[in-house]
């Protein structure tokens, strides 16, 4: 990937004003400062990992409890029972064989699985379902703002006019690897910035501008790109944070091998480097596995296995790095995908768009275990049957906001536009 000016946030660059005194005063009554005063949540970070395309939950977290029903629903892609990775204390549930690292994290109490996550009247369109997840909307509701954007807008009022300031000198949120997500859309502007390509991040740290052609246009482009970096109000703080971290975990694969790991490596570096940024978004695509999601001869291999292997490898390296960098207690992550896939596989060795699917929540602060039960596979299965919802995805958001970010219930309800029950995702010890 050679995107160039990744560094220019899609956030319209705003010349910083009111750096000191005045903006501090404006912030004095903000819920965020109250949070800081409460001593919890203020330095905590949430990392959202988006799996674009609709991840096949049934082949990610396997209901060993109902193995024969599982197998008969999708014989051509079903994972062999003996290859499924076992989870301590949960004999009826296992993980895809490509995810040994996540198995270890689960067994070490750093990974929680939430079963059957969806919402009422689920939508089967990628675009619409993605918007629903990112905005936190009901199926019938179109929201102009993202759920994380609303949270940040609530906690950091008057963004971007009064930012950066001494209380929040850093970006509120950072998207790594693509453009700013709709999840971060605030009432008027995106509440975050994008480092849309890892290369641009390293170019920034090394004071490099991506080379351009040795032409008249290339010369002009190089100049404008250089100016774009200089203009970015947050380039300086990001560079400074990154430079504080000179060594990271050796569990990351080589650059370029696992794009998600590349993205998370940057996140770990920025967190450990001291950025006060609250929310990071990273993503990987390829989960829209309509055909040949496994290799014909060995269902533990193939496209889906490669995706899950990367996910597992990336989360594990990230988690190891956070521990190494001594910030593991500050970071919690979650995976999500716009929907799960159909219970029955199709004739082309893939799965079509479905409904409920598991969500992984990871970090030192999780309440370990599995929330919910193994998905029930109906008798007399038809091709249109789907797994039913057990947990509304917004209950996860709600739990993270209240238990991880220490928002009070009224604030959470204001962000999510409704009250959702909290579920035990966050451990009592943190």
């Amino acid at each position: 990937m050679r995107r160039r000016d990744f560094f220019r946030a899609t956030l319209p660059v705003v010349i910083p004003s009111l750096i000191n005194g005045v903006s501090l005063k404006a912030l004095a009554d903000s819920p965020f400062l109250r949070t800081v005063a409460r001593g919890a949540g203020g330095d905590r970070v949430l990392v959202l990992i988006q799996l674009s395309g609709g991840n096949d939950g049934l082949n990610t977290v396997i209901p060993l409890e109902y193995y024969s029903a599982y197998h008969s629903a999708r014989a051509n892609i079903a994972l062999p029972e003996d290859k499924v990775l076992r989870l301590q204390g949960f004999d009826g549930t296992g993980l895809h064989p490509a995810m040994p690292e996540l198995q270890q994290l689960f067994n070490a109490g750093k990974l929680t699985i939430v079963q059957g996550v969806s919402y009422p009247q689920p939508n089967f369109s990628h675009f619409r379902a993605t918007d629903i997840w990112l905005t936190g909307a009901d199926a019938s509701q179109i929201l102009p703002t993202g759920w994380a954007g609303r949270y940040l807008d609530q906690q950091y009022p008057h963004f971007p006019q009064d930012y950066p300031n001494t209380v929040m000198p850093d970006p509120l949120a950072i998207q790594v690897g693509s453009l700013v997500s709709p999840a971060l859309q605030g009432p008027a502007l995106p509440m975050g910035m994008a480092i849309s390509n890892p290369n641009s991040f390293y170019d920034l740290i090394d004071d490099k501008v991506e080379t351009t052609a040795d032409t008249r246009a290339g010369d002009q482009l190089a100049y404008i790109r250089q100016m774009a970096v200089k203009t970015d109000q947050y380039a300086g703080v990001i560079k400074k944070a990154a430079q504080k971290v000179t060594k990271q975990s050796d569990k990351y694969p080589a650059a370029g091998k696992n794009p998600l790991a590349d993205q998370l490596k940057i996140v770990a570096r920025l967190v450990a480097g001291g950025l006060k940024t609250r929310i990071y978004l990273v993503s990987m695509g390829g989960f829209d596995t309509h055909a040949r999601q496994t290799d014909g001869t060995d269902t533990t291999t193939g496209a889906h296995a490669r995706l899950l292997a990367r996910l597992s490898e990336a989360i594990n390296a990230f988690q190891d790095d956070l521990t190494y960098l001594q910030v593991g207690n500050r970071v919690m992550g979650m995976t999500f995908s716009e929907f799960g896939r159909r219970i029955q596989s199709n004739a082309s060795g893939g799965t079509d768009h479905g409904v409920a699917a598991p969500v992984f929540v990871f970090g030192e602060g999780v309440q370990p275990g599995i929330i919910g039960v193994n998905p029930v596979i109906p008798d007399h299965l038809t091709v249109n049957d789907n797994l039913t919802m057990q947990t509304d995805f917004r209950a996860i958001y709600s739990s993270l906001l209240e238990k991880w970010f220490a928002a009070d219930p009224a604030e959470t309800a204001a962000v999510l536009l409704k009250n959702y029950p909290t579920i035990p995702l966050v451990g009592e010890k943190v």
Binding site: R128, I142, Q220
Partner: protein, 542 residues
Amino acid sequence: MTLIIPMANPASVTSGIRRYKGDWTPVQAAHLLRRTMFGAPREDVDHFLKKSPKKAVRELLQNDHPLPAPPVNNYNDDKYTDAEIAPGADWTVSLKYDGMNNGRRKNSFKSWWFGLMVGQDRSIREKMVLFWHNHFVTETNTVDNALFCYRYNVLLRQHALGNFKTLVRAMTAEPAMLRYLNGYVSTKAHPDENYGRELQELFTVGKGPGSHYTESDVKAAARVLTGYTINYKTFTTSYDPNRHDEGDKQFSAFYDNHIIHGMKGKEAEGEVDQLIDMIFSRDEVSKFFCRKLYRFFVYHTIDEPTEQNVIEPLAKMLRKKDYEVVPVLEALLTSQHFFDAANYGGMIKPPVDFTVGLCREFNVPFPAASEYVDQYGFLEQVRNQAAGLQQNIGDPPNVAGWQAYYQTPEYDKLWISSDTLPKRNQFSDRMVNNGFARNGKKIGIDVVAFAASLPNPEDPDKLIAGSVQALYAVALSPEELQFIKSSILLSGLVGMSSDHYWTNAWVAYQAKPDDKANRNTVTNKLKNLYRHLLDLPEYQLL
């Protein structure tokens, strides 16, 4: 902030002015239009693609477009009503000026002019008006009379595709210029050297290596030029022989020690003709002028091959054609050098090109002439954006024009600063998001209409490629195109097999535009797409 100017040394372009005979695709046609008009709307590109490059250039250079209707009274407000000029009526017939109407009319004039660019015909004329304005600079702030400003602008347009020497002569006696460079107060007792100097330094022989006029030439020219005054009843120039220096004027060796003999009475104005003849007898005038044309239309730096292969032959042609500009423009704009691929995207868009070009490329609908108040109002809003980006038409920073056209070594890089780059992005973001509003009306970019105007918008690759080609003078890499497709149009989906998700959404929108969720999906993705494309540095290239 200290700027480090990249010391890149972009490859020299050695082709000359022999006629271009290469490809004639949207790439070349759009290059021609971006440089000679403001922006390259697809309809215009398609129009000229049906012709040969030579015929396309000839059409752009046709000098038979009627002059536009004058500006109208759009300026009555709660503090002022023009008792003489009815709302919507031509105010340039008025000879009554006061503290209330002058500023309003100047504003009206500027918006009117900006509107001529936004609504330009398929002609180079408005680009040439801007070229001449930057060449024969006046500032409305100094001229300080709306009628003078308007008439000066009309003069530029009348001569836009005329004769350089004729225009120099006319400009010398133009009230706006007499005001601007003090010719109207220059007398034999106190000759003012301002115009005498700039006439040579900035308007004709320049300061190039072949120009060796002296301070005494400035003084002598100033004496020749004495005698002009302005009649403030008619707002016209008059010649007053009593103010004229009747002595002989001796010029330097650069002008072959020419002497302009002093004349008397009304005839004395003939000395000005002699002065201009003498100046134009220097070959340097044609070279200086062709260099200026080159910097405006092709590239900022003139290296040795360009001087030899482009400037010198054009200058020779200009002399041979007795300073008619059309033959020279035709030679330049049909040349191998102009169409050399190395020149595509080699300029940074001046703010007027950026703002007007954006409006034209996206067919931003301004109100009709009958809704003159809102029409001028919206034009003023966009014009103010260009001004904020440091190109305020009618008011260049000084008599030398905008620095980007002459200041070494930065030249047009000066348009891009830590102040103006974010402002450019904010302007294009705003045009995509909500546009500008007034009186319940709105102007902005209709992203769906633009996408629909491209070939195969249902195909995400073709939609992006078509948009890039329509908007950029340079290509994007395949990786970049892929990134844009996946992260914007496909919500993070990757792989060829995902393309149909965009296709389905687009087709469904065309079939059922009332489906709110899908409309939201399509318009948001297109808004993201165009915000991104207009924010990328590539969109700043001309």
